[in-house]
Symmetry: C2
Subunit: 327 residues, 2 copies
DNA sequence: TTGAAAGCGCTAACAC
DNA sequence: GTGTTAGCGCTTTCAA
């Protein structure tokens, strides 16, 4: 910038004005400055700008895994909102590791992102308290924050699961299995709670062997499903706790002779083209991201409402697998 | 930091040493500084650090659409490599709009990312010349840069498509349709070239009505497929130019009575569970990201080889749809 | 309309 | 081992 000023024969501040689009510069002067900028290939250094202004025009997004199809649309939605506000997105995957989440979040804070959207892996976010006090707007998505009071936007896991399981019950099932994510994860326990509520609501008992929480790794899920489908009194239907579980269960069921009903939480591409089509409880990942980002930018614009919990509804989409009668 | 120094009763530089993990500080002094840091909830401001050091420890990733399942694994792979080098990822979607790509890239440069990984939307990247000269390492992925000489990592679109089409020919097809992405996109034309090469190699003519390039929007693709399957001499097989086209074609074929063979470029989840399973030419999106990021960090480490083109092999995965005989 | 000086928070270089 | 000074590239303040 110094060089540009020298070449254009003007003061430093004049260049700053032109680059920043501030008023108060003669067209003629502006032309000279622009010329020097072109000639020197000058681009303003935003790091210096940030240092001075205190705002980075960037928001951090910490999620579990960028490669998971559930998070793609969510990220994209956050990005679009950020873009509308002139902000860039800095993001990272926690790989469902609380320590890695913490490192990532603190790294983002050190870079002074204006705001933070977090899909938490851990269950204790007190480490964020100083940051939030220091002015970093923070919104949690998909799962609530642990041990701090913060905005959270999530899907109605409890209600969605209850509706999905009730759907199976309505189609005559009485022995229904539940395979879900690790119990450390909020959505997993909420969905299990929904399952239990639906069973209890219909006066049905739940056998311990019908419930399996744990890693969504295919081997674990396959083992759980196979076990529930074996024995003299196998389950006649399965409820899958998220998209990865559902996909693995579909694979298992493709290999069984007797038809087994299935409802999965989360919609996924091509679910309608499988035979039978997979009945799902769909949540709107993009809406989750959009609502969270909107909330974030409200706060960045100065609004300071008390932290709130927003719960988005889910939608049951019958496609065949959930309407199969008990074998 | 000033406050920390005051509270600990030490000089500014000593705090800097402790925070930066530099040697040459008594354990006792270090303890006092740490204490002050805790008490004040101090976190180093990386913007200032960047300004001083000249490196941001961040890399920019510009792709077409974060929500596209093809880019998820690619982003994640880049992220992992970046993480191994202590860098964060700043990313954005160009939405296949050259102007938006340019804005995004320049915004990233203004923030002084150390390096840039770009999946180009446009075909003229001369606007990047000053940046590259200024030291921003740049690697293009999936498609080559336009009108500048830069590193590029891509899949063997030509060879993969040729192999896929040859596979259909080997199974007896002579009238084969090709539905691909917009001709502006490098991979689309390369795959078309592969198609033509396979047909020519087998001495088969190509009717103009068998080839359709354009948007991957479902309506357009459905129209193209339907047209090729109509008339007295319909195609007996289709080659789909990318994952989105393939998915739409699968939907169209699910509604036809007569069996039509299909090979798609790009693998996708559940392709094996459809009936018939979808034969694909698979590319390794994660490898694409990993190789590109490795190359980027080599450059950042000081290596300055001439820009090179790395082409990753594709793999034909027969699953049924590509082995159907002509109707 | 324009510019000079101060300073954002940090680290490199060089004292002590 | 520790502190002091200068300055990274920009914007803010205030004077011309």
């Amino acid at each position: 910038m110094k060089d540009v000023a020298a070449r254009a024969g003007v003061g430093l501040k004049t260049v700053s004005r032109v680059v920043g689009g501030e008023p108060g510069v003669t067209p003629e002067t502006e032309r000279r400055v622009q010329e020097a900028i072109e000639a020197l290939g000058f681009r303003r250094n935003d790091s210096a700008r940030v240092l001075r202004k205190g705002r980075t025009a960037s928001v951090g997004l910490v999620l579990e895994d960028l490669a998971d199809p559930f998070y793609g649309p969510l990220s994209r939605a956050v990005e679009e909102v950020a873009r509308a506000h002139g902000a860039l997105l800095v993001n990272g995957s926690s790989a469902e590791d609380p320590e890695r989440e913490r490192e990532l979040v603190l790294a983002l804070c050190a870079r002074r992102v204006d705001g933070l959207i977090v899909i938490p892996a851990g269950d204790d976010h007190r480490y964020l308290e100083p940051e939030i006090r220091a002015g970093v707007a923070t919104v949690f998505v998909d799962r609530p924050a642990g041990r701090i009071d913060a905005d959270v936007v999530l899907s109605d896991s409890f209600g969605g699961a209850r509706e999905g399981v009730a759907h199976l019950i309505a189609h005559g099932h009485r022995r229904i299995g539940f395979i879900g994510d690790h119990p450390r994860i909020h959505t997993a326990t909420e969905r299990l709670r929904g399952y239990r509520a639906a069973m209890a609501g219909a006066g049905l008992p739940v056998d311990d062997s019908w419930v399996s929480l744990g890693s969504t790794e295919p081997g674990r899920v396959t083992g759980a499903a196979t076990a529930m489908l074996a024995g003299p009194e196998p389950v006649t239907a399965l409820f899958a706790g998220n998209n990865r579980v559902t996909v693995t269960v579909v694979r298992v069921l493709a290999g069984t002779s007797r038809p087994v009903a299935l409802v999965g939480f989360d919609d996924f591409e091509l679910a309608d083209l499988l035979r039978p089509g997979v009945t799902v409880v769909a949540q709107d990942a993009a809406a989750l991201g959009r609502v969270a980002a909107d909330r974030l930018f409200q706060r960045l614009a100065g609004a300071a409402p008390a932290p709130a919990r927003v719960e988005l509804p889910t939608r049951l989409i019958p496609r065949g697998s959930g309407e199969l009668p008990p074998a």
